[in-house]
Symmetry: C2
Subunit: 304 residues, 2 copies
């Protein structure tokens, strides 16, 4: 089957990606542009979409998008649906742009045991694309704001966010920890990352304390400058895995196997950290977003 | 007694402050300049000192400094002394600039139960200046890198660092959390800070998760934009107090009364958070650094 049936759009904060997809969710072609919602001025999302799609604009195909394009700062605000949120719930609540250019998948919200609300937008679609129809899945989507989620039969039962990627970036670029950092040394990077992971996994103290270790270890000549970023990355990921395990346990979820969904480099980092924690893992499909959009389009009753 | 006996210099990363002090540790006059070690180019510390002191340069008085001026990036590196470090230990290990312009107090180091080294430079002097001769003191010096310390009879028994001030600054200035923040509303600031403190004190999850609450609460319209910075400040301080309590307990230290040493606004924030935690507190002396320098000069055998 290789006839295009859907234009699937993954439209985030910094970039946008469109795929021509057939009815088996196979990606036929992809177009990508640095036209994330931050780059779109004066609400000219229609122009941005036209630039992204090029001559696909004229194809008589349905179009479905997920991601920050459905946020308050995006084209049109799609609602946040409460957990548990099933693929059918998302399919029933699609938002549509005023000119009918695009349907947009809702985000998902939940409230943690800590009383704090939590939100995702875009990840719900990747999660549904990475999960089997009848499967129970514990998954992580590493990134700026890592999401850990529990999905049962394509229903998002619950999730929790960690600002791991963003903390790493701002601490290295703007805090004292970056001052001692030097370009990574590939020869020692792995060991430094593993050391950081071990610290994060076993240390039950505050991250605000442990992160200072990147500086004090360097001052004490117990960590070389080029290893500072790797150690900090390991610390943050190990710390995240430790707290994700506590989150899973509080929900009586076994923390034995985790599906890691995302770009290769990050997936590999998280799988390494999970292995250090004695947890089995597997990489999710690279085209999780496209698969999720196809599931949602089908459940919306679109003829694919 | 009002005859000057010592020039006491508190020389940090961003500013330098010199005081003319009599032998009772009373400050007679103060001069301050934005000549922190970051602002001094090409190692011209002698010129910076001359600019700071002005006509005090010609006074025939001993000069003692504490702070980052004794770091590797400072004028001359003063050692780090291991905990427990007493006022006598510091007095015995003063560093001296090559031209004899200044004696510099050593820093202090320790190793936490988590295996990480920890360091302070400048705070050791404030701690000794804030503690009575025979007193047992649990103290916090809030700031970019908050220090909690246990001092017994002017001996620093142990301490631990939290990057609270720096995390607050980089998250507000450079992360997504700053985007929803607006100028503080004095009418609601106190309540927002208290809410954040309660979250930080009672939430045993990860800071990398809870900090995302500043965004999700705002998205859920449960926190107003002007209250985002106050809530985040409260969260970080509450989180710090919770972990400082765990640190004290692990050392079998009662966590019943804390001396808070620093600038008024921060002292007030921490005392509020401690009160929410049911812990008594008192403000340390505003001139703790000068007092500490006088104690150290005396123990070094200087004739004051």
């Amino acid at each position: 089957m290789d006839e295009a049936a859907l234009i699937a759009v993954d439209w985030g904060t910094t970039s946008a990606r469109a795929a021509l997809v057939d009815r088996d969710a196979t990606t036929l072609r992809v177009r990508e542009a640095p036209l994330g919602i931050q780059a779109v001025r004066d609400g000219r999302f229609g122009d941005a979409l036209a630039a992204l799609l090029g001559d696909w604009q004229s194809l008589p195909l349905p179009r479905l998008a997920a991601g920050m394009i459905g946020s308050r700062q995006g084209w049109v605000e799609a609602p946040y649906l409460d957990c548990p949120a099933a693929v059918d719930d998302l399919a029933l609540r699609l938002a549509r742009t005023p000119g009918g250019e695009l349907a947009i998948v809702p985000g998902v919200t939940t409230r943690g045991a800590d009383g704090l609300p939590d939100v995702m937008r875009g990840e719900e679609t990747q999660l549904l694309g990475a999960a089997g129809a009848d499967e129970t899945m514990l998954a992580v989507l590493p990134g700026t704001h890592s999401k850990w989620a529990h999905v049962v039969a394509r229903r998002i039962a619950g999730f929790t966010t960690f600002m791991t990627g963003e903390l790493y970036a701002v601490l290295l670029a703007h805090s004292i920890l970056g001052r001692l950092a030097q370009p990574a040394d590939p020869a020692t990077a792995q060991a430094a990352f593993a050391r950081g992971v071990a610290q994060g996994l076993h240390d039950d103290g505050s991250l605000a304390h442990a992160a200072f270790g990147a500086r004090s270890l360097a001052l004490a000549a117990e960590l070389a400058g080029p290893d500072v970023p790797e150690w900090l990355s390991g610390l943050l990921v190990g710390h995240e895995v430790r707290h994700a395990r506590a989150w899973a346990r509080a929900r009586s979820l076994p923390f034995e196997r985790v599906r890691v969904i995302g770009a290769d480099a990050l997936v590999s980092r998280y799988r390494t950290a999970l292995a250090h924690a004695g947890v089995a893992s597997e990489a999710g499909p690279a085209d999780a977003a496209v698969r999720g959009l196809v599931h949602i389009a089908r459940r919306a009753g679109w003829k694919l």
